[in-house]
């Protein structure tokens, strides 16, 4: 199924939690924040929120800034 991850279309397995998806992508779960379909997710929600076809995900991390 297709989702939109950080603005790009991407094919992912069905029936995955966000936490597992991040793991599959090699993204370490620390220092992250995630929006799911425009809704901000508290950290513990990553484990039990399922990704569905057409979902939009934003995964951000902090970087250098002024």
């Amino acid at each position: 199924m297709e989702i939109k991850l950080n603005g790009e279309t991407r094919e992912v397995d069905a029936e995955t939690t966000i936490a597992r998806l991040l793991e599959q992508l090699g993204i370490q779960p620390n220092n992250l924040a995630v929006e799911h379909n425009g809704e901000f997710l508290e950290e513990d929600a990553l484990e039990h929120t399922m990704v569905r076809a057409g979902d939009r995900l934003e995964v951000v991390r902090f970087v250098g800034g002024g």
Binding site: N6, A33, G64, G66
Partner: protein, 260 residues
């Protein structure tokens, strides 16, 4: 000069440092170390999914610095609140440098949206440090809204132009009940010193350090300048005069009658 305290947390250094625009993570980490700062700003960015190991900040020892995530990129209050919430999870701090800058040319802050976002973020338990124009009334309203500091600008972000808003910042300082942190535009150590000398509680510097040829050296320069100004205030300056005040005693004998 009292100890600097923000939201009941003490800071020994009055220099805060931004982590953007450094040429490499290691240079950044060294510069931060050399600055003696205890608080560094960071920004949020999308993880690059194809290259997820973003190591930009990995060189920093987070146990030594308070992180202050900013909301850079936000163009209105809603975006700023959205970013602040993501930042809270990502950085595990409820402190936020609130930036609402709709204009891409000068990156100047929007006073109305900044106040609106500040009120909402305070209500949500954030410790809010807003970046603002040098506007004394806005500063007072943000204080009343529960902000932890105000951060008026010296000049546009990254412009290195120095304390162009000196008069207005002087009024902000005079009227403030919370720390005043001069942010943006401080390009040389003398600029930072001047801000502290006129009464600012701290300064925030990023571009001037990051784009110097030797950022570590420049960080050290700002550290010294801020300490210099702090000491100068503690020392009780003697004030200006229009006329000269002789620093040597009058050598009267030269001009006496009968002198050669």
């Amino acid at each position: 000069m009292d100890q600097l305290t923000i939201n009941a947390e003490p800071f020994r250094s009055r220099l805060f440092v931004g982590t953007g625009k450094f040429s490499s993570p290691s240079v950044m980490a060294e510069a931060i170390e050399a600055s003696g700062t205890e608080m560094v700003t960071v920004a949020l960015r999308r993880v690059d999914v194809n290259n997820p190991r973003d190591s930009t900040l990995s060189a920093l020892d987070f146990s030594k610095y308070r992180l202050l995530p900013n909301t850079s990129g936000a163009r209105d209050a809603a975006e700023a609140v959205r970013l602040a919430k993501m930042a809270r999870v990502a950085t595990r701090t409820n402190w936020v440098k609130l930036e609402v800058t709709p204009d891409p040319n000068y990156l100047l802050p929007d006073p109305v949206e900044t106040l609106k976002a500040a009120e909402e973020l305070v209500a949500q338990g954030f410790v809010v440090l807003p970046y603002i124009n040098a506007d004394p009334i806005l500063a007072k309203r943000l204080e009343e809204a529960g902000c932890a500091t105000v951060m008026p600008l010296a000049a546009p972000i990254g412009s290195n132009r120095g304390l162009r808003t000196r008069d207005q910042i002087g009024i902000i300082i005079e009227q403030a009940g919370i720390p005043v942190v001069v942010d943006a535009g401080l390009g040389m150590p003398s600029h930072a010193a001047e801000a502290i000398e006129i009464g600012a509680n701290a300064v925030l510097v990023n571009t001037a350090i990051a784009i110097a040829e030797d950022p570590v050296m420049m960080a050290s320069a700002f550290k010294l300048a801020v300490e210099a100004a702090e000491k100068a205030r503690q020392a009780g300056p003697g004030g200006e005069s229009r006329l000269a005040r002789a620093s040597s005693p009058l050598t009267g004998f030269l001009h006496e009658e009968g002198a050669p």
